[in-house]
Symmetry: C2
Subunit: 317 residues, 2 copies
């Protein structure tokens, strides 16, 4: 009936997503407390900071102090985000405690790329070539391609599976020019256009072209379809997802303020575990971390299992 | 890949579910205003009142006045809930404006039936026989079986597909004893235990036994899986769902206060329409009704599309 994976990896992006968008201010200590709590849950990869312009994103002015303060947990990989060379420099200075990976960043929509990245897709190809040079110079491995707007775009409308495949192929061409071996492709539903059926169409088209490629989905829950879309991905054998504890972080592209952003980590982990798919995550601990996140930001967050509770206590009877 | 229906029917239960649980007080006029707004959305069936003990459910003390005040819309069937003979009498007095249907009410869990209905399953069979007599005496047709706790139970744990099939078979036996023809079976995830995979297992088992039977799903979103479960139902060809505008109504069986209840009507309709499944519903109008519901209850409700917006405005570009 379906091709569910036995195990999925969930990449936690809540601290980075959340603290950049929350009106705050949130103290460095509280940020560290949340990351340390997440480190105890069984998550294997946590994006802990954003090295961006502190004038534009004041919530991450203390990125260095947060990374310095966290207590790394054996087996957890701590990652960070940067948007330009200055940001990368700041991240590189902390490599060792951080575990940086480069990425070929593509976009399936020309108008979204112009608005969000301030460059067209052709220019983006040149930028990606240059980025790879910088990654190499800093000893940062590049093994993945990511793609924004892979399921639809507020400015370009529908994105076809053919466009996604063509955009990924461009990414592979860039990689090939630098003798890089790409192991994974991450497809982002940046503006929350995906449905379970479009997930299947796009993943199916990519799978057909690159059968051995590891796929990751970065899903937004802005219109409530986050977990349904994740389930469609699981049915297609997708075994890697980005998610955000408690649903931390909003969606800047939504029609109204207060819309949800990333799919919620503990809800996704709960769904997987209930279906017998291993996540390596202790969902109860993750729910406690989600409740801590809500306490830290001081307002309700979108997560459901943190309110509804897991089923563990009923099974003990 | 899947067996999606071309058209689904969504039964609106928000007014009944919501106004019984909201701390209120909510004026009769505001209740009527919401129902009238829902009548304009294309919904074909709206549960508009609950005829229950006003001492136990003060939010529905004005059930008669609400039914008297609504402006019926051509093609919309207005239904109501009752829990005993006294309630049925009150509903019958309004039949004509209401469009009452009887139902054989089963439960897949003995301990839940004892706690929730104050009777064991054997006694419930006797009660259902008696109920049918009352329905017949009042000229109310009985063409459906409903089943609570069909996917799991806080007091009994997992519910197997075999138990669901056996419970449905008991319902069919009751119907047969009264020469009733059952056209549909509604399976309720009363305590939010279902996952997309258990939806498929249970629906598959029922389908195998009664291939021509129309199935309805009553899903709760308490743990965030409501739409994922609905999608799994759609994949199995289920074409009828209960839902609640804006996610009105909570879940009394959740671990924590403030947990979501029924799956949200406009989110479900949005998902269906985006996948090309007709609902007959104008999602924009339904979003406006959801926003009205939130205004009426005076606090945030769980719906997502009412915050994230639909995609219509981006498609017009």
């Amino acid at each position: 009936m379906s091709d569910l994976p036995r195990h999925v990896d969930i990449h936690e992006e809540g601290p980075r997503e959340g603290f950049q968008i929350e009106p705050g201010p949130i103290s460095t200590e509280r940020k560290i407390a949340l990351i340390d709590a997440l480190s105890e849950t069984g998550l294997k990869r946590i994006q802990v900071a954003s090295f961006v312009n502190p004038k534009r994103v004041p919530g991450w002015a203390d990125a260095e102090a947060v990374v310095a303060g966290i207590h790394p947990h054996q087996g957890v990989r701590y990652t960070a985000l940067w948007l330009n060379e200055k940001g990368l420099e700041r991240a590189v200075a902390l490599n060792g405690k951080l575990s940086l990976r480069g990425n070929i960043s593509m976009c399936a929509s020309e108008p979204f790329s112009r608005r969000n990245q301030n460059r067209g897709l052709e220019e983006n190809v040149r930028v990606q070539h240059a980025q790879i040079g910088i990654f190499k110079a800093n000893g940062i491995p590049v093994e993945s391609i990511s793609m924004m707007a892979a399921f639809g775009c507020n400015f370009a409308g529908e994105i076809t599976p053919a466009t996604v495949v063509a955009t990924a192929a461009q990414g592979f061409d860039i990689a090939a020019a630098h003798d890089l071996t790409i192991k994974s492709l991450s497809l982002a539903d940046t503006m929350a256009w995906a449905t379970p059926e479009s997930i299947k169409r796009v993943v199916g088209a990519v799978r057909e072209r690159w059968p051995a490629l590891r796929l990751n989905l970065h899903l937004h829950d802005t219109r409530g379809l986050g977990l349904a879309n994740a389930y469609a991905g699981l049915e297609m054998g997708v075994a890697s997802f980005d998610a955000s504890v408690a649903g931390l972080g909003g969606c800047p592209f939504a029609g109204h303020k207060g819309a949800a952003g990333n799919v919620c980590t503990e809800d996704l982990a709960f769904m997987c575990e209930e279906m017998g798919i291993e996540t390596g995550i202790d969902v109860e601990k993750l729910v406690a971390a989600a409740q801590l996140a809500e306490e830290i930001v001081g307002h309700p967050l979108p997560g459901s299992v943190m309110r509804g509770g897991t089923l563990a206590k009923y099974r003990k009877h």
